[in-house]
C-alpha cells in the first residue's frame, strides 16, 4: 500500500514537474533549470533507501568508486548498493528472476532489446546536467522512437591484442584469431559476438543479421578453429592473468586490456583489423518501477561528468562519452581517436547494433563452446 501511494504521488509530481518545465521554458533555460532543480530536490527528499545498481565487476565499490564519488558526496544516505552482472544475458536472467535494481549498464548492442522488453523506461535528459557534453553519435545510439533509453558512458573497440615479440600476423585481420600457427595461445571472448566477428571475417554483408546459411558458415568456422583456443574468456582479469603470464599471445580484447598488458611491460600491439573493429558503448538504463527515479538520474549525472570521464580513461583505458575528457596517455588518445567524435562509426569502425535473431545466435554460440 505504502509503495503504491508513493508511486502515485511521484507520478503526479512528475507531471507537475513537466508542467513547470513547460511553463518556464519560454522564460529561458536558466530560470527553467533552477525551477527544475528546486522541484527535483523536493523529489529527491522523498526517495529513500540505497540506490540499487546492477553493474559489471570493477565498477562498484570494488574499484570504481570515483565514477560515482560526486553522487555519494551529495546523497550519503542513498549510497549505491551493487549487484554484479557477468554480461547482459546474465543481467536479463537476473532481472527476470526477480532482481529489482534501479539502474544497470548493458552495452549498445542490447539497447533496442531492452528498450522494447518492457523492463526499462526512458531517462529524462533534462535531469542530467552533463548530458549536453556527451558524444552525439553515442547519444543517438541510446535512443529509440525519440526517447532516451540509454545514457552513453564508457566506450571502446573490440580488436585484436597480440604479443609482437612472439606473433607475426600475416595480415591485419580478424583472421589472427583463427591462425593455425598459434595453437594453444589464442583467446576468444565468451559471447555470441564471436559469430558476428566470424561473419565480418568471412565478408558477409550484415554480420549482425546473417542468413541461416551464413550463420552456419560462421559457426562452422568457429567450430573448426576452436581447437586452437586456450581460453574463452569472460572476465578481463582472467584474460590479464593468462595473457600477462604468457599463457596467451593473441586475444580478442578491449582497449583497457592493451593498457594493462603494456603496464606489465609486454610487447603488445592492439591491432585494427582491415575488416574493421566493432565499437561499443556502455548505456546506463533505468528500470521501470524504480523507487529512486531522481537518485538514479543523479547517479547517471555523476558518471557522465568530465571528471569521472577522465578518471575512467586514465584508469580503465576506455573512452568516455563525455567529449570534454582527455586521457593523460597519448597512446590511448591515438588508439581511441579521442579527438574524433566519429571514431565509433564508419569508416573507422562498425558501431555495435541490435541482433534481431539473438536467441538463435546464442544457441549457435553455445554449440560452439560445447563442440
Amino acid at each position: 500500500m505504502e509503495e503504491g501511494r508513493d508511486l502515485l504521488e511521484r507520478r503526479i509530481s512528475r507531471e507537475d514537474l513537466l508542467k513547470l518545465a513547460a511553463a518556464t521554458g519560454a522564460a529561458g533555460l536558466v530560470a527553467g533549470r533552477t525551477g527544475l532543480a528546486g522541484a527535483a530536490r523536493a523529489e529527491l527528499a522523498k526517495e529513500s533507501g540505497r540506490l540499487q545498481v546492477l553493474d559489471w565487476a570493477g565498477y562498484g565499490n570494488d574499484g570504481g568508486q570515483t565514477m560515482f564519488a560526486a553522487y555519494v558526496k551529495k546523497y550519503p544516505k542513498n549510497k549505491p548498493q551493487f549487484t554484479y552482472m557477468t554480461n547482459e544475458a546474465d543481467a536479463l536472467a537476473k532481472l527476470h528472476a526477480g532482481l529489482k535494481p534501479d539502474l544497470f549498464r548493458p552495452y549498445v548492442g542490447w539497447t533496442k532489446y531492452f528498450a522494447t522488453s518492457g523492463l526499462v523506461q526512458p531517462w529524462d535528459p533534462k535531469l542530467i546536467s552533463n548530458f549536453k557534453h556527451l558524444n552525439p553519435f553515442m547519444v543517438k545510439a541510446g535512443q529509440l522512437n525519440g526517447k532516451q533509453y540509454g545514457i552513453p558512458e564508457d566506450w571502446g573497440f573490440d580488436q585484436i591484442l597480440y604479443r609482437s615479440d612472439k606473433v607475426k600476423p600475416k595480415a591485419k585481420s580478424w583472421g589472427l584469431l583463427f591462425d593455425e600457427r598459434y595453437k594453444g595461445k589464442i583467446a576468444w571472448f565468451d559471447d555470441l559476438e564471436m559469430l558476428t566477428i566470424a561473419g565480418l571475417y568471412l565478408g558477409f554483408k550484415n554480420p549482425w543479421n546473417q542468413s541461416d546459411a551464413e550463420l552456419k558458415k560462421s559457426q562452422n568456422l568457429l567450430k573448426s578453429k576452436k581447437h586452437l583456443v586456450r581460453l574463452i574468456w569472460s572476465s578481463e582479469t582472467n584474460l590479464w592473468e593468462a595473457f600477462g603470464s604468457g599463457e596467451l599471445w593473441i586475444a580478442y580484447a578491449w582497449p583497457n586490456d592493451w593498457v594493462q598488458m603494456k603496464k606489465k611491460k609486454l610487447k603488445v600491439v592492439y591491432m585494427h583489423p582491415k575488416e574493421k573493429p566493432i565499437a561499443w558503448v556502455g548505456m546506463l538504463m533505468l528500470l521501470k518501477g524504480t523507487q529512486r527515479y531522481h537518485l538514479a538520474h543523479a547517479y547517471a549525472d555523476a558518471w557522465s561528468s568530465a571528471k569521472s570521464a577522465k578518471w575512467l580513461e586514465d584508469n580503465y583505458g576506455y573512452g568516455h562519452a563525455n567529449t570534454l575528457a582527455r586521457p593523460s596517455s597519448s597512446d590511448l588518445m591515438r588508439v581511441l581517436q579521442i579527438t574524433n567524435p566519429r571514431a565509433v562509426t564508419l569508416p573507422n569502425a562498425y558501431f555495435d547494433r541490435d541482433i534481431p535473431r539473438r536467441s538463435l545466435y546464442a544457441k549457435m554460440w553455445e554449440e560452439v563452446k560445447a563442440a
Partner: protein, 305 residues
C-alpha cells in the same frame, strides 16, 4: 493419526493418557524433514521438468507443452558429445582417485597401526576445508608464472621464456584438481569396508595355502568392493556435473557439461528450456546410476564410525 507399533516400546507403556501425549510417532517426526525436502527439493526439480517441456516459463511469450527442446537435445551430437566427454573425464578421475585411496585405506585398516583413526583424520581433514581455496591453491601452483614454473626457473631447470605452459587451462588441470579434491573423501568408505573385514577369513585363506596376493584377490578385494563402488560413485556423481573447477582452471579444453548448464542459465542469452533439458538429463543419468548401485550406497558404509 495412527500410532504405529514401535520397536522395543512395550505395549504396557501405551496407557490411554500417554497415548494421547505420544507425539513422537513416525509421521510427526518425519513431517518437517519430508515436507522440507518435498517443498525445496522435489518441487524445484518438478519445475525444471515443467520448464524443459515449456509448460512453464519466466519469460514472456507463447508457451505450451512441447518436446522441442528434448528432441533438439537428443538429436544434437554437440551436447551429447560434451556429456560423453565429461563422463570420460569423470570416469578417469574416479578411477585414479580410487586407485590412490585404496592402498592408503588398506594400510590404515589392515597394517595393524595403532593410530589408524588419527591418520584417517589427517587424511580426510583437507576435505573439510574450503573447496574453492584448494582449487585456488592449484591455480597458484600451475600457472606460467606460478609456483611450479617459477620454482623450475629458479633452480635452473627451465628458462624463463620457456615455462611448462600446458599445465593450467587444460583438461589435465581439471582432472588433477578434481582428483586432489576427492581423494580424502573416497578413502573413507573403502577404509570402512576394509576395517569391517573379518581377518579370520584371511587367516583361513592362508591356512589353505593361499599366498598373500591370492588372499587379497580372492577375499579382501571382493569383500571391499562395496566400499570401492560407493567411493567411485561418490566421486563420479559430483564430478560429472562439475562446473566450478573447470571454469577456474579448465580453459577451452577443460569445458564440461556442468559449465554448459551453468552458462545456459547465466551468461548465455537465457535459454532456460535447453538448460533445463541438460540438467534433467544429467539428473536422470545420476538417478539411474544411483538406483543401480544403491546397495553399495547404504548409510552404514559411508560413515566411519
Amino acid at each position: 493419526m495412527a500410532v504405529e507399533g514401535e520397536a522395543g516400546v512395550p505395549a504396557v507403556s501405551a496407557s490411554g493418557r500417554r497415548r494421547t501425549r505420544l507425539d513422537l510417532t513416525a509421521p510427526a517426526l518425519l513431517g518437517f524433514p519430508v515436507v522440507w525436502l518435498v517443498a525445496f527439493f522435489l518441487v524445484p526439480i518438478a519445475i525444471v521438468a515443467a520448464y524443459s517441456f515449456d509448460i512453464y516459463s519466466l519469460f514472456p511469450g507463447k508457451h505450451g507443452f512441447t518436446l522441442a527442446a528434448w528432441r533438439a537435445f537428443l538429436h544434437s551430437s554437440v551436447y551429447l558429445g560434451l556429456f560423453w566427454k565429461s563422463v570420460k573425464m569423470s570416469l578417469i578421475v574416479s578411477a585414479v582417485v580410487v586407485a590412490l585411496a585404496y592402498p592408503v585405506a588398506y594400510y590404515l585398516a589392515l597394517s595393524g597401526t595403532k593410530r589408524k583413526y588419527v591418520l584417517l583424520l589427517v587424511l580426510i581433514a583437507p576435505f573439510l576445508t574450503s573447496y574453492l581455496l584448494r582449487v585456488l591453491a592449484w591455480k597458484v601452483i600451475l600457472g606460467n608464472e606460478g609456483v611450479l614454473n617459477s620454482f623450475l626457473v629458479w633452480v635452473g631447470v627451465r628458462s624463463r621464456d620457456h615455462p611448462i605452459s600446458q599445465l593450467l587451462y587444460s583438461r589435465f588441470a581439471v582432472m588433477l584438481v578434481l582428483t586432489y579434491v576427492w581423494v580424502p573423501f573416497v578413502a573413507l568408505p573403502i577404509f570402512v569396508s576394509l576395517e569391517s573385514l573379518d581377518r579370520r577369513l584371511l587367516e583361513a585363506a592362508c591356512d589353505l595355502g593361499a599366498s598373500r596376493w591370492q588372499a587379497f584377490r580372492r577375499v579382501t578385494l571382493p569383500l571391499s568392493l562395496p566400499g570401492v563402488m560407493a567411493g567411485f560413485l561418490f566421486v563420479f556423481i559430483p564430478t560429472v556435473g562439475e562446473f566450478v573447477t573447470p571454469s577456474l582452471v579448465g580453459g577451452t579444453s577443460g569445458y564440461m557439461y556442468g559449465n554448459q548448464i551453468s552458462d545456459l542459465f547465466s551468461t548465455g542469452f537465457p535459454d532456460w528450456e535447453t538448460g533445463s533439458v541438460l540438467a534433467l538429463f544429467l539428473l536422470a543419468v545420476v538417478a539411474v546410476l544411483t538406483a543401480a548401485f544403491a546397495r553399495f550406497l547404504q548409510v552404514r558404509q559411508v560413515t566411519a564410525h
